[in-house]
């Protein structure tokens, strides 16, 4: 099992090394693959979230422990993120091209002519990305703990962190894209194999399972599920690494075609859900609901195949981690600390990457409670740049102050709702913040319109 796992990891490093061939020079080549990713590589990079560590561990875990509301929320948001990106993706690409942007704050700084807005968005994005790293390491920890229970966990997580840094150092975003192909091939193979074997061994009679393992991790009501789908599907388009993926595409058509194929790519979800139902009916011993897919794989597969499945899950976390590192580094070196020379930029980028990995791994080691809550907090915050972006697309009358005021009111409203424990009918506070953000932005624009601005659409005409 361990030999198969190590072989897959070694193969991924060879692929990352191979990805250096044809890579250009300079930050744009490194951070957004020079905007030259072909249709296939762009597809695997951009729809990678479909088969992420959350899909392999969290989705069956949620099915196992939770109810239908979880499936509606998880499946619904990934599904609707595709049409949102199909619509917004080409405009993000064109807007990035217009201003030569590599990051989201690059665009806001250039369009609204505001360093303050640039820094606020950059610092907010950096802070919000740490929980994403923690979640990847939490999943990796779960797998590595089962793979090598005798070895100290800090050592295993440090090893995973070093592999991530190697991907980043070897070929930047090109390495993430190339390794994503291996990851998705292994993931799809693993789901197909475990799912098919589960169907072949489908139990006739059900075995009762202890109530403790059946308890829902996060109770998901329908209003919460539907409002969270809206926040997360819209927020998906404003994730820093997703902008990097979009800028890496050759053109708008490649983006829309990839997003058109993305929902079809979700074809394996029924099998994932069936595996969770299988594990529950078989009464397989599962310490944590998130381990349910691996528990079924353990039950159905020989040791070496289980090692490959575990490697696929760990690769999924590491691909996301490397793309987040590549999103954070330019946020710091271009937007927070501009004006650094080439060598200083490189040093800061390496330093912040190492710090991000260390903080994320430490968060996973500390078993940060309520990771699902951190994920929701990530989307609460990340989606708040959307009203400003949409306004920039359609009108030239918005000032940076309007965007900042909208985001500030949204942040205060979200924090207030959470601290006061207001349920708001189960509606996701991020959606309440988004609506308030849009209202404030509109009011400020009506009161203090910009006179010298042009919309992105007008500039692209």
């Amino acid at each position: 099992m361990i030999a198969a796992f190590v072989a897959v990891m070694a193969l991924s490093l060879l692929i990352a090394l191979w990805a250096r061939r044809g890579a250009g020079q300079g930050p744009r080549a490194f951070f957004v693959a020079g905007g030259q990713l072909g249709a296939i590589l762009f597809f695997f990079l951009s729809v990678g979230e479909t088969y992420s560590i959350a899909t392999m561990l969290g989705f069956p875990g949620g099915v196992y422990a939770g109810g239908e509301g979880f499936v509606v929320w998880f499946f619904g948001y990934i599904l609707l993120a595709a049409p949102v990106l199909a619509v917004l993706g080409p405009w993000i690409w064109r807007a990035g091209n217009l201003y030569g942007a590599v990051t989201i704050p690059d665009f806001f700084a250039a369009h609204f002519n505001s360093r303050l807005l640039e820094r606020v968005i950059a610092l907010g994005a950096i802070a919000l990305l740490v929980p994403i790293g923690t979640m990847q390491f939490a999943g990796i920890r779960l797998v590595l703990g089962a793979l090598a229970p005798g070895l100290p966990m800090p050592l295993l997580l440090a090893g995973a962190g070093l592999v991530v840094m190697a991907y980043v150092a070897l070929a930047g975003l090109r390495a993430a894209a190339f390794v994503a192909v291996l990851k998705d091939a292994l993931m799809l193979g693993a789901i197909l194999l475990v799912g098919a074997l589960a169907l072949l061994h489908w139990p006739i009679a059900t075995t009762p399972v202890a109530t403790a393992t059946m308890a829902a991790q996060v109770p998901v009501t329908l209003p919460f599920a539907l409002s969270t789908i809206a926040v997360q599907a819209l927020g998906f388009a404003m994730i820093p690494q997703n902008w990097a993926f979009l800028f890496a595409a050759r053109g708008p058509q490649a983006i829309v075609r990839a997003q058109a194929a993305a929902p079809l790519y979700m074809v394996m979800f029924p099998l994932l859900m069936a595996v969770a139902v299988f594990a529950r009916r078989m009464g397989l011993p599962v310490d944590k609901p998130d381990f349910v897919f691996l528990a079924a794989a353990q039950h159905l597969l020989p040791g070496w195949a289980l090692g490959v499945v575990m490697a696929a899950v760990v690769l999924a976390g590491m691909v996301i981690l490397s793309s987040v590192c590549l999103a954070i580094a330019p946020l710091l070196t271009r937007n927070v600390l501009p004006g650094l020379d080439g060598r200083a930029q490189q040093r800061w980028a390496q330093g912040v990457t190492a710090l991000f990995i260390a903080l994320s791994a430490a968060g996973a080691m500390a078993q940060v409670p309520l990771l699902a809550m951190l994920n929701t907090v990530f989307y609460f915050g990340i989606v708040q740049t959307l009203p400003g972006f949409l306004a920039a697309l359609w009108t030239g009358r918005v000032r940076a102050g309007g965007v900042l005021a909208g985001m500030a009111v949204a942040a205060l409203a979200i924090i207030g709702v959470r601290l006061a424990g207001i349920s708001a009918g189960g509606i996701n506070p991020g959606l309440i913040g988004l609506i308030l953000n849009s209202v404030v932005l509109t009011l400020v624009t009506l009161m203090f319109p910009r006179r010298d601005g042009h919309s992105v659409m007008a500039m692209l005409r």
Binding site: V72, P270, V277
Partner: protein, 62 residues
């Protein structure tokens, strides 16, 4: 037709499909592989959304 109207139509169809699956299909009733009718209806939205987006992307310039 404006870009905004085109965008809204492209988004509206998948959103309506999901809402229809979640709100109009009963949660109880027959199951297949332990998965209820509502969730199967939700799963069926995926290929339908792909087909819709593929049809809509014809108008996007390269």
């Amino acid at each position: 037709m404006t870009a905004l109207a085109r965008a809204l139509i492209t988004l509206a169809v998948p959103v309506l499909l999901v809402l229809l699956a979640v709100l109009a299909v009963p949660a109880d009733g027959p199951t297949c592989l332990g998965i209820g009718l509502r969730i199967w209806a939700l799963f069926a939205c995926a290929p339908a959304t792909s087909a819709w987006l593929w049809w809509r992307q014809r108008a996007v310039p390269a």
